[in-house]
């Protein structure tokens, strides 16, 4: 079947349209002329309807939908022009194309009147069969096309309706199965509708008439409701608002409320809302908070303990150290060689103990220090190099640095970090070469990534983590002096600055200690200063 647009349109419907015969109305008072017209146009796809008068034509127009009307102009009683005028007045046929058949010559026919009455074409009698068929077929095509368009739009509308109703079903299904309460209510809190979860959540009988229930009953504190409504009123919506509500059995629970104020087409306002029971989540959060507070408190207590203990330990130790060193200076000569050695052990033991206590104190103090000074790392390094000038000179070390940034931090802690790393780099030097230490820095997004690189003895990979723990030493204090706290201080100090510290090393060739310090705050500060 020929259907020029059938391949492109969405529808099997176009075929249905084509199968339905198209109707054509033939109007003439003379039967012979009707028969003649009929014989010219007859075909399988056409249904020819015949009318012998204008009156009959009008009746048929009401009952059928025609693709085109062939209308004899000269008829008794009601001529073609009058008939056309009446056809046009009928709603169902106001646009049906009309072809006048007239014996009048072009000049004799009041063409303008015919056109104004809705004629779309003229055919002159005697009728030329080819011309008639050609003209009629144009209108039949037009009719078919418009029918098809109509059908398609109808089909699309139905499709949309089907989709909408299936969405509605799915939505309702979802609302029924959802564990989140979904409801709508008037601005005064009178319930309009709600899903089963809503009723379940608050223990409300789902069979009640919604308008008899006011949401105000759910608030143990009227004040909470007033606050929420005030915010809803000023902002038009609230999201994930945590508030205590009441189950009808009297128990309280925490819910998360999301509400939006909706104004419908009639200007009426109502509230659409979601409500979710978050009691478990709240309780878990509270437990977590309590645990964290407890942890913070116990950490603080531990730091305080370490501080006080190490401080109190210092007192008697100062006596041991001072008197043993005084004894060594004043009376060593009166002791024999062994006595002098014992005294030496006493002095150095006391001194090591002092270093330990000093470092524990420093470690314990880290948590207490504030973190908000503007620190020029170049100055920090210079100060460190001054502190270390003796061991640098004794070891023949070369310490170099990049131009370093200024950032927000705790100057004493950062000094300890650099001092510990640089002094370690010198302390753990390779016996075959002079120690070199370089402090470099590069920008990594919001962080400065620092690196302290040395050419020392290096560290085996299995110790990368261990060295940052308190009291962890890889070497005996006979080989390398130290308390085993220095790198733990570095790690705690860097972590207090929000960074991490790691080490990479090639044993025998050297180590690189890397740590990050946040740079964003400095930029922030610079902007603030320049503004």
């Amino acid at each position: 079947m020929k259907n020029p647009q059938g391949n492109e349109t969405p529808t099997s419907g176009s075929q249905i349209v084509a199968e339905k015969p198209v109707k054509v109305l033939l109007v003439d008072d003379r039967p012979d002329k009707l028969v003649a017209l009929e014989s010219i146009l007859a075909g399988p796809a056409l249904e020819l309807v015949l009318a012998r008068s204008g009156k009959e034509a009008l009746r048929l127009v009401l009952a059928h939908e025609f693709a085109v009307i062939l209308l004899d102009v000269s008829m008794p009683i009601m001529d073609g022009l009058e008939t056309a005028s009446l056809i046009r007045q009928r709603k169902s046929s106001e646009h049906t194309p009309i072809i006048f058949i007239t014996a009048y010559s072009d000049t004799e026919m009041p063409a303008s009147r015919g056109y104004s009455l809705g004629a779309v074409d003229y055919i002159f009698a005697p009728v030329d069969p080819d011309i008639l068929r050609a003209k009629v077929s144009v209108f039949i095509d037009l009719f078919k096309k418009s029918q098809k368009i109509q059908y398609q739009s109808e089909w699309l509308r139905k499709q949309a309706e089907r989709r909408a109703s299936s969405l509605e079903i799915r939505l309702e299904d979802l609302l029924n199965r959802l564990n989140v309460g979904v409801f709508s209510a008037t601005g005064d809190g009178v319930l309009i509708s709600a899903n089963p979860a809503f009723f379940r959540l608050f223990g409300i009988n789902p069979a009640i008439a919604p308008e008899t229930f006011n949401l105000a009953r759910l608030y143990p504190q009227e004040e909470d409701r007033a606050n929420l409504m005030a915010r809803l009123g000023s902002e038009g919506q609230v999201q994930d608002y945590h508030v205590r509500q009441r189950h009808l059995d009297g128990t309280h629970m925490w819910v998360s409320l999301s509400k939006v104020l909706v104004t419908d087409a009639n200007g009426n306002r109502h509230i659409d809302g979601l409500v979710e029971d978050i009691t478990d989540r709240k309780m878990a959060e509270a437990t977590l908070m309590a645990k964290m507070e407890e942890l913070a408190r116990s950490n603080a207590e531990l730091e305080e303990f370490a501080y006080v203990a190490s401080h109190d330990l210092q007192e008697p130790l100062r006596m041991v150290s001072s008197y043993s060193s005084l004894l060594a200076e004043r009376y060593a000569q009166q002791l024999d060689e062994k006595g002098q050695m014992f005294l030496g052990q006493l002095v150095s033991g006391a001194s090591r103990m002092q270093d330990l206590i000093r470092d524990i104190l420093a470690f314990a103090k880290i948590g207490k220090l504030p973190n908000h000074a503007l620190v020029d790392c170049n100055e920090v390094i210079e100060k460190v190099l001054f502190n270390l000038k003796d061991i640098i000179a004794d070891s023949g070390a070369t310490v170099t640095r990049d131009q370093l940034p200024t950032l927000i931090g705790e100057p004493v802690l950062l000094g300890q970090v650099f001092q510990n790393l640089i002094s370690n780099a010198i302390k753990f030097r390779h016996k075959d070469r002079c120690p070199t230490v370089h402090v470099s820095v590069e920008r990594r997004g919001a962080f400065w990534s620092f690196a302290v690189t040395d050419n020392g003895i290096g560290i085996l990979p299995q110790f990368y983590e261990k060295i940052f723990s308190v009291f962890q030493r890889l070497h005996s204090s006979d080989d390398y002096a130290g308390t085993g706290i220095g790198l733990a201080i570095c790690r705690k100090a860097i972590e207090k600055h929000g960074g991490t510290i790691t080490v990479q090393s090639v044993p025998g060739s050297g180590s690189v200690f890397r740590f990050q310090l946040s740079s964003s705050e400095t930029d922030h500060l610079h902007i603030a200063n320049s503004a």
């Binding site: 210092q314 007192e315 100062r318 150290s321 001072s322 060193s325 005084l326 104190l361």
Partner: protein
Amino acid sequence: MSSPKAVSILLIDDNDGDAMLFREAIEVEGESRSITLHVASSVDGGISLLTGAGTSGVRLQPTIILLDLHMPGKDGKDFLRYRSENPELARFRVVMLSSSTRQVDVDDCLRLGAGHYRAKPKDWTGYQALTVFLRQFWDEAEKTAPTPAGVTIKNGDGPGSDYDD
């Protein structure tokens, strides 16, 4: 070398060990100067010596007061408060000598009128360094009151415990 002049020190410290070490250190210094060291083991004892209210009737005019911070009963800060409220004591300069290195202690003491804050020496070398630091005060005092060299140690507040070196 200028002739030795009179210098007197009041050490207020409850720790005998520290007092003795300080005495040893000062003795070395005393080889070239005349230094009198008075020791009080409590804040009240120190105040008595300065106001003449003690049993000995002594009323000291120390060149410098060395003050420990942590003591049983009244502590160093209490002494500083008392000093600032009493004009007769306010003229004596105070050097804090404490084992505390807490910034809050340092700040408090300086705010309360101490002229210096020094950590207690942690060994003998530290005591020697302390006497070197204190020389500035001796030098100043010597401009006014010359006396012969030697050190006099007085344990000021214990009954019958005064002794001379």
